[in-house]
Symmetry: none
Subunit: 132 residues, 4 copies
């Protein structure tokens, strides 16, 4: 489980990272059940990224994988191609979703959306690093 206090610590770290690269982001944290614990949209962040940040976090927990890694297996011609049409549109297959681990076990995930894939990944990683 991830408490709201822990989700806030994760989000705070991710926000600092987003500020440091001058890119407003949507940031979401889900728990071990894949259910949303907290979400923030920084001022000026894309509206379309609300859904994506929440679902990157969901995807990351749902398949226990970084969404950037899932992306490689989900391109045209690869073994999971088409997976993004499953689960009623909740599966996001590009970078920015990272599982949150405690004692080696995945207990939730963070999802970030609002910039390039590289930016989203950077900010998500900063958030995940704050979870111990």
């Amino acid at each position: 489980m991830i408490t709201l206090a822990e989700a806030r610590t994760i989000i705070e770290a991710a926000e600092k990272s987003a500020v440091s690269i001058s890119r407003p982001m949507n940031i979401a944290v889900v728990d071990g059940g894949g259910n949303l614990v907290a979400h923030v949209r920084m001022d000026g962040a894309w509206l379309g990224s609300i859904d994506i940040s929440i679902n990157k976090a969901w995807t990351s927990r749902a398949f226990d994988i970084e969404t950037g890694a899932l992306a490689k297996e989900s391109q045209s011609g690869e073994q999971y191609f088409g997976i993004h049409a499953s689960n009623h549109g909740r599966v996001i297959i590009f970078a920015g979703g990272i599982p949150l681990k405690r004692k080696g076990q995945i207990v939730g995930a963070i999802g970030v959306s609002g910039g390039s894939g590289k930016q989203d990944q950077t900010v998500a990683a900063a958030g995940a690093a704050a979870f111990v």
Copy 2:
């Protein structure tokens, strides 16, 4: 428009109210376009209320009305009966959604879900009162 900082102030006030009545809640704030600014699920709050809190806020802005007031007009036999099936399930017709006003104009809304209608309304009102 409502900034993330403002949304946090609103949520903080709502959380205090939720704690004071010993009831964990989902709390969401949307802006003038009905788009989510921030959401929190307090520890132990209902999973099914994630969607409801977000959509109470949306409903309240979408129809510029408290959801508890909309409820009265949406019962069987009343003028808006059936409205809860519109807008792809986003319309919530029970108490806990309150418009946020600035200088007399509605610029967003708060939605709270996790307890009785009365509890949800109490917590939402506390959040709305913190917006000036």
Copy 3:
């Protein structure tokens, strides 16, 4: 069939009626296939009524009936109760949708949403009256 020019004439008449009762409205016109021809949201009209105006028009054509009349048959205990959950949320069962007839045949419909059921009906009727 209803041309775009005809839809605009209908909408213009409905708008005049909305202005005359000082109530901004969403107004939509669909053709004989139930497909949208035109929609307008008057300044200040409810965001949640975009969907409802379009689907009142759709409902009115889909069942060849005024939505206000369908409402009576769709209340709890009546023969069509529950119909609002069918057709993926497109069935609106309160006043404001009126079929458009030419030579006694239904060739489309108008849907209006943004006020009380009575206001919606008044504005829709004004629009329908402009179609000959």
Copy 4:
């Protein structure tokens, strides 16, 4: 914000462009919150393009980008591949959606659908050019 009068000016310009290339189009305008202000389907335009025109406009505002530009980043192997499955099918990743700017800020968007990508883009650009 974009008024209905402004949306009509935009649509009128887009329609003229569509007539000049002899291609009936669906044309939609959304405001800064991504919410529909107005839509028209020109006589003979594709039925399937009603949804696409509205959602091209939404996409363009939701990610503050032309949908034709988003297309390049959303092909298999690119950084946003799969984004078209997010946001409940509202993300359209081919040309025809253009943000509307005022004083350098994006305040809405136009979406056009009914022809080739090139035709849609031409008509959308004509509409956007009429917004000042």
